[in-house]
Each structure stands twice: as C-alpha cells, then as structure tokens.
C-alpha cells in the first residue's frame, strides 16, 4: 500500500495546517483579553506559523507534485522547497526511485488441470509521479490484478510437472514481468516493473503426501539402480579375477604338461638307448614290469573253466565290484593288494562270506585261505616281488 504513503503525508500536512488555524484562533482570543499590546508579536508569530507550512522537504527517492488550486503546477526535485500555503498550493511527495514490493499469493490451474499454489513477488517503480498519482484510483489494485492475471495466464500455459521441477525456467520470471508491464501499459499509470519473481510453487496441502511419495519413489528407484550398479561393480572384477585364474591355470597346466613331457623324454632316453641295442629284451622287460604292477595292485578271480565241462560259474559281478570303493581307499593307503571275491572289508575279515552265495557257487575262498582243489580259486597272491614292482611302477609313473 505504498501508494497511500504520499497521500498520508499530504493529509498529515493538511491536518497540521488546520491545527495551525486552531492555534491562531485561540491566540487571538487571548490577545483580545489582554489588550492590543501584544498584537504585533501575535501577528508575527502567526506569520511564522503560516510560513512553516510553506516549507517542505522532498527526499532523495521522491518527487514533489505540486498542485495549485488542484491544477498540476510543477514537479519538485529532491531538496527543500517552498509553496503557497493552503488552500492555494498543496504538494504530494511520490517515491519514484525506491522499488516497491508487492507479494502475491494465488491458487491456479495448470494446463493439465492441476491446482497449484504460487507465491509471486513483484517489485515496481512509480517512475512517473504525475501519472502514478492521477491516472488510476488504486495503483495497488491495478498491480495486484495485473500480477494475478499474468500469473494465471503463465501457469495455465504450463504443465504441473514443468512447474514443480526444482530448476524452473528463468524465462518464467522475465515473461511474467513483461506480461505485467504490458497490462500496466494499458493504464498508462507510469509504473515500471522492476522484477517479477516466482518465489514458491507448491501443491495444495491435501496432496502433499502423494507428492512426497514421488520423491520417495525416485529415491527407491535410485537405490535399486545403485544397488545394481554396486553388484555390477563387484561382479565384473570378480569375473576378471576368475578369468585371470582360468588363464593362469591353463598356463600352469601347460608348463606342467610340457615339463612332464620333457621329463618323460629324459627318462626315455636311456630306455631308448637300450632298446636300440636289444629291442626284444627291452620290450619283454618293460612288459613284465607293467604286468607285475597291474597284477600286484588288482584283485583277481581265477576261473578254471574249460569250455564244455558243464559247470556254470555264477559270478556276481556287482557283488565283486561293490566293496571296491571302500576297499580301494584302504588298500591304496596301505599298499596291500586286496584280493577277494565277496565283499570283504579291509583287513580281511570274513563276515561277508556268510551272506554270499557260497553254497551255489563253487567254493569261494576268502582272502588268505589256501586254494581248494579243482575249484575256482580266489587266493591272495603274496608276491615276493611286490616291493620291487611297486617301486618299478612308481618309477613308471614318474
């Protein structure tokens, strides 16, 4: 309501003038009562009083609009000035240089039919004091209406989403300023829009919760993505490490393989030399070594079965093979040649023999039993050469 300020000043000036008049009357009555002796002094005081209403100050930001009998007389620059006393002249000081602020608050519909509350701050100058005083009845109302109308228009041209994003288009403010100025120009009221600034845009209180859920959803989405990114960030290096391990393993395997091939070649060199001298003997020797090794380490079943003698031997191969796993560990560990038919636990206990089909088949001896006559024999094969041969085998493996 800055518009009213000059008016108030004017009215204040008028009031003080009237007060001067009252004082004058009282003074005069008193003069009457005390005679004319003091009349000269009284008149002087009266003149002084009137003169004091003739002087006025215009501040730096203001202009003094002087009316003589209501007619515009002149516009005074800042400083001290004289004018004729009431009722001849009166002066209204209008602020022309200081921007006047006008905050507006409005509820508006966007182009997509959403309701928003907007705070708009206006700053304007009463650039032309004469027009500002005499063109419109209420400058404040004109500015409010122009601001609201321009704002309504601008908001109705935009979607809610574009208005609510954090970074608002700077063109909005400048566009508003120009639109308001254009509306004011219709009135030719001497007002110059300094700025229009949208201070705040918010959704109505009743939908704030739903609106906030969007922010939360955005955070949720970000979280999902960042979790995935973290997963990816660990997955790829892991894969690279794994890949490196695979490649390295292959390299190691290769070196090992080649080294072994070279070792084999080195081991073979004397054998080949010997072979060149005595091929047959070398071959036989090698063959025997190998066979000895194989027989020494395997379980054996000897079946004396001549074609046509009428006997049928029933060998339960699955039973034979069954204990192999259990026995294998033991026999491999102890180095004892496990020789059995029925499931024979390690150590040669015979408990399993009772469960076997002992009656049906030709006698099946448990390990360690002496071979029975004319019967299929399963016998341990204590091998005196065992030590040598296993050494030889180990050599062969190497």
């Amino acid at each position: 309501m800055a518009w009213n300020n000059p008016k108030d000043e004017e009215q204040g000036a008028r009031r003080s003038g009237a007060g001067g008049g009252g004082g004058w009357r009282g003074f005069r009555l008193r003069l009457r009562g005390q005679g004319l002796a003091l009349s000269g002094l009284g008149i002087a005081l009266l003149l002084l009083l009137i003169a004091s209403t003739c002087y006025y100050q215009v501040d730096d930001a203001g202009r003094g609009v002087v009316q003589r009998f209501g007619r515009l007389q002149r516009v005074d620059a800042p400083g001290g000035h004289w004018h004729w006393p009431w009722p001849v002249e009166s002066t209204t000081v209008v602020n022309v240089a200081r921007a006047i602020e006008l905050p507006l608050n409005s509820e508006l519909l966007t182009s997509d039919g959403n309701l928003l509350e907007v705070n708009l701050n206006l700053q304007y100058l009463q650039a032309d004091p004469v027009k500002a005083l005499f063109r419109v009845q209420s400058l404040d109302a004109v500015l409010r209406d122009a601001g609201h109308a321009a704002l309504r228009d601008a908001i109705a041209r935009r979607t809610m989403a574009s208005l609510l994003t954090g970074a608002r288009e700077p063109a909005l403010d400048e566009g508003l300023r120009q639109a308001i100025q254009r509306r004011l120009d219709v009135f030719d009221c001497g007002v110059q829009m300094r700025s229009a600034a949208v201070a705040e845009i918010r959704v109505p209180a009743s939908v704030v919760a739903a609106r906030e859920d969007i922010d939360k959803a955005r955070q949720d989405a970000d979280k999902l993505a960042s979790d995935a990114r973290a997963y990816a960030a660990t997955l790829v290096p892991q894969a690279e490490a794994e890949a490196q391990r695979i490649v390295q393993q292959a390299g190691d395997d290769k070196r090992e393989r080649v080294a072994k091939a070279e070792a084999d070649a080195a081991r073979l060199a004397p054998v080949l030399a010997e072979y060149a001298v005595a091929p047959a003997a070398t071959r036989n020797r090698l063959y025997e070594d190998t066979m000895a090794d194989i027989y020494a380490r395997s379980r054996k079943v000897y079946v004396d079965l001549k074609p046509g003698n009428g006997n049928v031997v029933y060998l339960q191969l699955d039973k034979l093979l069954q204990p192999s796993n259990a026995a294998a560990a033991g026999s491999a560990a102890t180095g004892t040649p496990g020789v059995s038919i029925e499931s024979v636990p390690e150590g040669g206990t015979h408990s399993a023999a009772a469960t076997g089909p002992a009656g049906a088949a030709p006698a099946i001896g448990p390990a360690g039993a002496p071979p029975a006559n004319a019967a299929p024999v399963a016998a341990p094969k204590p091998d005196p050469r065992l030590a040598d041969e296993s050494r030889g085998r180990e050599r062969g493996v190497r």
Binding site: R68, G70, R71, L72, L108, L109, S111, D112, G113, L115, F134, D145, H148, R183, V186, F187, S206, R211, D213, I214, A217, D220, A221, L224, A225, A228, Y231, L235, V236, A239, E242, I246, V247, G251, R257, V258, K260, A261, L268, V271, A276, R283, L286, Y287, T290, I294, Y295, A296, R299, K300, V301, D304, L305, L320, S324, N325, A327, P337, R393, V397
Partner: protein, 291 residues
C-alpha cells in the same frame, strides 16, 4: 463603537461566505459539472484549477473522479461445457469520460451504477467458458476473452459516459466442492508417477545386472578360449616332444604308451581281474614249461 461595528462585520462575513460559494476547485484527478438550480447541466468541461460559478442557491457543482477505477466481480460461478464448475475473479477497469452523461445515468449512486456494465462482462465471460470444455477453458486466451468481454460491454458503458479500459481475468479455480475432486485427480497422477518411477528403477536395475552378467560371461568365455588355446599349445608341445623322442621308433612309441595306459587304468585296487585258465600270465603257475 463596537455595537456600531458589529452589523457591519456580520454583513462583511456573510458577503465573504457568499463569495466563497462562487469559487470552486477542480483537482487534477477530477471532473466537474455545474448544475443550475440542482438540475440542468450548465457546463461540464472544466480543466483542473480554480473556477467561478454563481453563488450558493443558484449554481451547484458536482465533482467526479476522472481516474481509472476498478470494479471487481469476485468468485463468479462458471460452468464449462462438460459441466465442471469453476470460479473466476474478474476485474473491470473503467473511467468516466463524459461526466454529464455519467451524472445523468449514475446520478447519486455513482460508481455503483457500473454494476450494469459489469453484468455484460460477466455474461460474456460465462458464455465463453460455457462454449469450451475444461481443457479448452484452461488453454483459453484470457487476453482475448477480456477484449471480447470489453467489446460486449463497451456499448452500455458508452451510454453512461464511461470508457472501459480493461477486463482482466485474475483467477480461475475449481468451483463449488470441486477442489477435493481436483485434489484426488492430482493424487492419482502422483501415485501413477511414483509407480512409474519405481518400475523404471527396477527395470534399470535389471538392465544393469543383465549387462554386468553378460560382461562377466564374456570375460569368462574369453578366458576359457584363451585357456583352451593354451592347453592346445600344451598338447602340441607335449606331442612334439614325444614325437621327437620316438622319432626313430614309432611302433615302440605305441607300445610304451599302451603299457603306461594299462598301468594307469588297470593297475588299481578297484579293478577285479577275472583270469581264465588259458591266461598267459598264469602259464608258469601251471607248469615250469609253461604248458
């Protein structure tokens, strides 16, 4: 002495009072009208300043504001073509330009008489809004709407000696109890957006994971390829060494390696050898001659 002077003074004061009614002041923002005997308009084109008239009882002066004034139509109910109730505030700016006509039309009621003009504006706006659906109303050109309303009211205003300066649509909001429906619509919109955002996040996360896994697969596949190539080289190298070793005795190479294989595959505790009677290995078991 005083009693002689008193009537004189009284007459003088009366004369001064009468003289003061012969003078009137028209301010810069005023229009004046001189009426003879309170009725006929004698003069109406007074510039601002001091003017004279016949004294009290003969001439009478009326002063009117010549500035632009506003007349507000607040919270006017409107209805769009699709029956959405809206509310609007309209400001009508007007100015007295022909003071005699305004005096005749408005008389003592003064600016309140402008209500008739405002009625025209109201009807014009209401009709324009009723022609469009909600979206149409929202995208309406308020300036044009104002101009049209101004045109519609120009005639009646001119009859009153009034010039219309501007019609401004300062507000257009949901009317009656529509605010809650608008709010509900907004809530739905926000909820949909939130859902969309969350779905988008899930989708992106899946994409990132899938990409990472694809990359991992690619890295591992490349490593496997490289490893396979390395192993192939190893095979080749080993074969080359082997071939060089046995270069003069290919048959012996087969023999040697076959023995190795026997040893490796047969010579384990898992194997059960079923030996027939004709087994060559046992021939010395049967007889020293071997037969």
């Amino acid at each position: 002495m005083r009693q002689e002077r008193l009537p004189l003074l009284l007459a003088l004061a009366l004369l001064l009072l009468l003289a003061s009614t012969c003078v009137f002041r028209v301010a810069e923002d005023q229009l004046a009208l001189r009426l003879r005997f309170g009725g006929d308009v004698i003069a109406d084109n007074y510039a601002p300043g001091l003017h004279f008239k016949w004294p009290w009882g003969i001439d009478e002066v009326r002063l009117y504001d010549r500035r632009v004034q506003d007349f507000a139509l607040l919270a006017e109910p409107l209805r769009t073509r699709d029956s959405v109730p809206l509310r609007t505030d309209i400001s009508l700016y007007w100015q007295v330009t022909k003071v005699a006509e305004f005096h005749r039309a408005a008389g003592e009621s003064g600016s309140a008489a402008i209500g008739q003009v405002a009625q025209k504006v109201r009807e014009s706006v209401r009709a324009a809004v009723a022609r469009a659906d909600l979206n149409g109303v929202l995208s309406i050109d308020a300036d044009r709407l104002g101009r049209e309303a101004l045109e519609a009211a120009r005639g009646p205003a001119a009859d009153m000696g009034v010039t219309l300066v501007a019609v401004q649509l300062t507000s257009l909001t949901p009317g009656e109890d529509m605010s809650e429906q608008f709010a509900e619509r907004m809530r739905q919109g926000f909820t949909a957006t939130a859902l969309q955002l969350r779905a988008g996040g899930t989708e992106e996360a899946q994409k990132i994971r899938a990409e990472a896994e694809a990359k991992r697969g690619e890295i591992l596949a490349r490593a496997q390829r490289e490893a396979a190539a390395t192993r192939g080289q190893a095979d080749a190298e080993a074969a080359r060494i082997d071939a060089r070793t046995f270069s003069r005795n290919p048959e012996f190479q087969v023999f040697w390696h076959r023995l190795e294989t026997y040893r490796r595959t047969l010579g384990t505790a898992n194997d059960v050898l079923v030996l027939g009677p004709d087994n060559d290995f046992l021939k010395y078991l049967r007889a020293p001659s071997g037969r």
